[in-house]
Symmetry: C2
DNA sequence: GTTCCTGCAAAGGTTTTGCACCATA
DNA sequence: TATGGTGCAAAACCTTTGCAGGAAC
């Protein structure tokens, strides 16, 4: 739950955050950020576009995509569960987790013991019934830390 | 790491698993499953298609998609970090996690204390440098457990 | 005034769909 | 033989890109 004052604080600080990141402050960026800061709904780019259009009728969906991508890159926003565009499949269906390289997109198995499986099958206070937990550790794989950066979207 | 015998066992059991799930066993399904069971690489549909084509030159990419979707639905395969197709954004950049409803696609914040953040920033034995951990709990949201199933891809 | 951003439109990539033919059971 | 799966092609969908005009600093 996000309180009213937290929202206002975020919105008030946004211009400063932008300038610190070397970004210009525009009405489009403020509208997109304000919309996201005011909701818990994790909207899609399309939904954000629809929400800001009443205030900025001339804004384009492409601009929304550019703003989201840029703010995510600067760490001002977060893209939820972001893998590279294509889906990835795994024949292991038992509980295990994955590492995802932010450089090359490679996905590897993570054999961690720290699987927070304790609350699967139990109803949470919000009424959500957990069925399966997925942990994705983002970071740099061995190759990308050492050798030159491989091409994106490689399958290996 | 998947050992040779584990792979062979999975491949050998696949026809039985299929029939138990009410699915016919076809060369295309066997090829797709065998390829996935034999690798740790979490390939994309395109990569799977390329890998099975030498054995089944007539197979189509559409069929690969259908097989993957179906086997994932039956729990025989796993789609890694599967959200509905569109991206989702969040203005909260501090460590927190998400629940994703498998029925309606709704994403909500999860204020769990059990954040496995202990190994962020430390190199793992495989050479992977973790930067950020993302936990996605799949399950059923309150509305989908009680009321009728809402439309997919809703933003609320 | 310079730099960077926006809006538009087109293109790119991924995934889904419909249907006639074919294989499995 | 009946059911369900495949192959093909088209379409749908999401996202990226290029560029000319415009806004922020």
């Amino acid at each position: 739950m996000v309180t009213q004052t937290e929202i206002e604080k975020k919105i008030k600080n946004f211009p400063t955050i932008c300038r610190q990141a070397g970004l210009k402050v525009t009405p489009q960026r403020m509208a997109v950020y304000n919309m996201l800061a005011s909701t818990d709904s994790h909207p899609t780019p399309e939904a954000i576009y629809a929400a800001v259009r009443p205030d900025l009728p001339a804004i384009s969906l492409g601009t929304v995509y550019k703003i989201l991508d840029l703010l995510n890159l600067k760490g001002i926003l977060l893209k939820v569960s972001s893998l590279d565009q294509a889906a990835r499949y795994d024949a292991r269906v038992t509980a295990h987790h994955h590492t995802a390289c932010t450089q090359c997109g490679r996905i590897e198995d993570l054999n961690a013991d720290s699987v927070p499986a304790e609350f699967v099958g139990e109803e949470s206070p919000t009424g959500f019934l957990p069925e399966r937990i997925e942990v994705l550790v983002h970071g740099l794989c061995r190759d990308c830390r050492h050798g030159p950066t491989p091409a994106r979207y490689q399958t290996k």
